[in-house]
């Protein structure tokens, strides 16, 4: 009897966690196993992630390189501390591989919203994360 319900129970538990993370943690409803796909415009195509690198005599925006694309996609889909820190550490490691100074990485996740009548699109900040490089 218990085993019979195991798959459905797992589905229910994962879905409850997904709703909690989406409502309180910024997880896109399309992901995480809560079956919220095709329900909202809040998904990868309408999320943006900026990376700003600071160092003495340096402050510039980084175009996400191919090697960090997956990490960036994960962080944009769920801008929680762990994934944002992982991305920031990846950015720092990459900069140092190229012998470029970096003391701080600022990550900003943006979400596009559309006006209900005119559909005019505007970006709204979802999360900003500052990582101090040591």
């Amino acid at each position: 009897m218990t085993a019979r319900w195991l798959p459905a129970t797992l589905l229910g538990v994962v879905a409850i966690v997904q709703v909690a993370l989406a409502q309180g943690g910024g997880l896109t409803p399309w992901k995480g196993g809560g079956f919220g796909m095709f329900s909202t415009l809040d998904h990868a195509a309408y999320r943006d992630l900026d990376v700003v690198i600071d160092a003495p005599a340096r402050s510039e925006t980084l175009e996400i390189p191919a090697s960090l694309e997956e990490l960036a996609a994960r962080a944009a889909a769920y801008p929680g501390d762990a994934l944002l820190r992982q991305l920031a550490e990846g950015v720092v490691a990459r900069e140092r591989r190229y012998n470029r100074p970096v003391t701080r990485v600022t990550l900003s996740v943006w979400r596009t919203e559309f006006d209900p009548l005119t559909l005019a699109a505007t970006e709204h900040p979802l999360r900003t994360f500052v990582y101090e490089a040591r």
Binding site: A15, Q23, G32, G36, H124
Partner: protein
């Protein structure tokens, strides 16, 4: 003298008499008791003959092969297991292989969390359900139950998001924007919605946001022909009604005509939705789960699910909206 019988399966009265008269040793063991004393065979080995359950299992394996998933450390295992399931009837009914598949799919989900699509989660639950069902005393009934509950819960979640949690579905924004900006729906928007290619291009530009919350004083207008608005409204409410109906039917007790309506609505959902929605993997999985709910005598229904599986394959591999669009332009 004992005459040989014409029918090898039946005993002549002479044979029966001769068997009854064979003197038995008091220490001899009754052959029937010997058979009964043997350990019970696992449920997955009891029936070696092909059954309708095998159709659902094989289609699951085919779906796994059609859309390879995961990194190098899970992909070969998933593809290898799927190939083994297809070529070996014995492997097809081994719970351990399905359990391993469920584990491999779970590893694939965890590896790049949260990027996996929802049907990958459903595939993991389904593989686990197959493993548990094959170990149970009633594999067909257990798998049918799991199929109904999994589809019912998944669709209930989808309805919850669309109807209550998402802020931009019921007011039509989701499909209005998606039909204009998602390249996978562009041809359908032109074919059914009546947009021209230039209008579609201009709309995509108009819907590009300026960076960091900036906004134009007079933003460009978005062109939405009445047919496109009707298509967006029909998609919004049609999907919601279909998903709600499927969720309710799957979770209702199997009384009277409920099972028939389940099949009708699930097949309708798959054949309508996956004509446009670019997630054939989800469609195949739902059809496989629907096939697992059929009764052994419902062969026509099982064939219908196989045909629907092939139609979704056709939808995914043939750019039919583009071809129709080209045809309508040329004529």
């Amino acid at each position: 003298m004992i005459q040989p019988s014409q029918d090898a399966g039946s005993e002549s009265p002479a044979i029966r008499r001769s068997l009854d008269t064979i003197p038995r040793s008091p220490h001899a063991i009754d052959p029937l008791r010997l058979v009964a004393a043997q350990p019970a065979r696992p449920s997955w080995l009891r029936s070696a003959a092909p059954s309708h359950l095998d159709t659902a299992l094989r289609l699951t394996a085919i779906a796994l092969l059609l859309r390879p998933m995961g990194q190098w450390f899970v992909r070969p295992a998933i593809l290898g297991a799927a190939a083994l399931l297809l070529i070996s009837p014995r492997a097809l009914r081994m719970p351990a292989i399905w359990l391993a598949l469920a584990f491999a799919v779970a590893v694939r989900i965890a590896d790049d969390w949260p990027l996996a699509d929802n049907h990958i989660y459903l595939l993991a639950y389904w593989s686990l359900a197959i493993a548990l069902s094959l170990r149970s005393a009633k594999p067909i009934a257990t798998l049918g139950f799991n199929s109904r509950v999994l589809i019912g819960f998944a669709f209930a979640c989808a309805v919850l998001w669309k109807a209550l949690l998402a802020p931009d579905f019921l007011d039509g924004r989701f499909f209005r924007v998606t039909l204009l900006t998602d390249p996978r729906f562009g041809e359908a928007s032109m074919l059914i919605g009546g947009l021209t290619a230039d209008q579609l291009q201009a709309n995509r530009g108009a819907l590009e946001p300026l960076p960091h919350g900036a906004a134009l004083l007079t933003p460009p207008a978005v062109v939405e022909p009445p047919r496109l608005r009707q298509l967006a409204a029909l998609s919004t409410w049609g999907i919601l009604v279909l998903e709600t109906t499927v969720a309710c039917l799957m979770l209702l007790p199997s009384r009277r005509r409920v099972p028939v309506f389940r099949h009708v609505m699930l097949l309708t959902f798959c054949l309508v939705t996956y004509a446009f929605a670019p997630v054939a993997g989800f469609g195949w999985l739902l059809l496989v789960m629907g096939a697992a709910q059929t009764e052994p005598h419902e062969r026509w229904l099982q064939r219908l699910y196989v045909i629907a599986f092939l139609i979704v394959l056709f939808y995914a591999e043939v750019p039919w909206t583009g071809l129709l669009l080209d045809f309508s332009r040329s004529s």
